[in-house]
């Protein structure tokens, strides 16, 4: 049976102005123009978006799950980066 060489594209949708584009899924298309058209049909049938980004999947570089510890645990012991670390008397009011 036939094989096509349509690329996989990752689709990002901005649901309304003021919000960021958010990853919603992927699809196949031969080029970026068709990818946008397909994304409209597949991911915005119910007014889910006002803007679409498509990115070839193979252009995305992702961190590896194995790197999770060295990448993300260093921030776990830095509680002083959070506002609740500091005790401010109630009398001072909201801060």
């Amino acid at each position: 049976m036939e094989k096509d060489n349509w690329k996989i594209w990752e689709v990002f949708i901005r649901s309304k102005n003021g919000l960021s584009h958010k990853h919603v899924g992927s699809l196949h298309a031969p080029d970026e123009e068709m990818a946008i058209k397909n994304a409209r049909d597949v991911y915005t049938r119910r007014s889910e978006g006002v803007s679409i980004w498509v990115v070839p999947s193979d252009q995305i570089t992702a961190s590896s799950p194995d790197e999770k510890e060295p990448l993300f645990t260093p921030s776990d012991d830095k509680v002083y980066r959070h506002p609740t670390f500091y005790e401010i008397p109630d009398e001072v009011g909201h801060m």
Binding site: M1, D4, W6, G25, S26, L27, D31, E33, S64
Partner: protein, 317 residues
């Protein structure tokens, strides 16, 4: 060997802690295989599911119902695409999956091998078939594999429209002329039992279920889901004055659920084997649709190749 065991143990305790598995995480081969099989079959079911309903698009009784049916069939195509995408995150190849369906190698839900002989079937399918699918899919929103779970959340939102529009068709027919009511009853008679079969064999005859439950791919057993569906649906039939075609159906006060008659499992396994009323027709129709769409795919390829070569020559200059 020791290392594999510990990886598997770690995986299991991660899943037990209600954490989601994402594409690049380590997972047992059997978990990956089970998911690829289940998600691709699910995708195929959405795609083949378009066929019985497409049968009525040109004969819908009003412009309103035609628009609704078109939107529903388009949704099913979309659902198929969400699911193929989810399977691809596990390393499955889209073209292989599509080819497996076209070759008749892949399975899809047996319910779509039943014919749609009257307009009332559009009501019965939305109400019962989509209703049964929702019962299963709501559970799958909490499945342990992230991309599958996210696809299910999206699908469930859209399926709710499918079930409501189906029930509306049944409601209208059931409150119409005696002939219309008879049409609705007749459709319920034909679709009731096959809808119950959608949940799969009884727990005692479903050998892979236990492992799927352990991995939290599934959250409820076939029998549990079937029971919930019956308990929910019987009052809906009564509300519009239709009779569920099961003489053994009876409310069990003690258990707080309905007792129901024996499902004809011989029929179920026959349809799975390929001997249902429409197995051959569905496959032929799917192959025909794929073949007739070939020129669109070729044109898209030719156009993108042309654009690519143009932009190359501009860069070279």
């Amino acid at each position: 060997m020791g290392e594999t065991t510990s990886l598997e143990e770690r995986f299991q305790s991660y899943v037990d802690g209600e954490n989601k598995i994402e594409p690049k995480d380590w997972m047992p081969d059997a978990y990956r295989k089970t998911l690829i099989r289940q998600i691709s079959q699910h995708a195929h079911s959405e795609v083949v599911g378009m066929l019985p309903e497409a049968n009525w698009i040109t004969r819908a009784p009003s412009l309103r119902s035609k628009l609704i049916l078109l939107a529903k069939v388009q949704d099913e195509a979309g659902h198929g695409l969400y699911l193929y995408s989810a399977a691809e995150t596990l390393g499955a190849d889209r073209q292989d999956m599509v080819n497996d369906l076209l070759n008749g190698k892949a399975k899809y839900s047996s319910i779509f091998n039943y014919p749609t002989s009257s307009w009332a079937d559009m009501g019965a399918i939305g109400w019962l078939v989509d209703g049964a699918a929702i019962q299963n899919q709501v559970m799958l929103c909490r499945t342990s594999y992230g991309p599958y779970s996210r696809a299910m959340v999206k699908i469930c939102k859209e399926e709710s429209f499918h079930q409501r529009q189906g029930y509306e068709i049944m409601m209208n027919l059931a409150s119409g002329t005696p002939e219309q009511k008879e049409m609705a009853q007749e459709a319920l008679n034909r679709w009731w039992w096959p809808s119950l079969m959608m949940f799969g064999p009884t727990d005692a005859n479903s050998p892979n279920s236990a492992q799927s439950m352990k991995w939290k791919i599934k959250r409820k057993s076939n029998d549990e889901l079937r029971q919930e569906f019956i308990d929910k649906t019987v009052p809906q039939a009564e509300f519009i004055g239709l009779t569920v075609p099961d003489p053994d159906l009876k409310w069990n006060e003690e258990k707080g659920q309905y007792d129901f008659g024996t499902i004809n499992w011989d029929e179920f396994f026959e349809v799975i084997k390929g001997n249902g009323p429409c197995n051959k027709q569905r496959l032929t129709d799917r192959q025909k649709a794929h073949k007739e769409g070939a020129w669109v795919r070729e044109a898209a390829n030719a156009y993108s190749n042309k654009r690519a070569s143009k932009s190359k020559s501009t860069t070279a200059a």
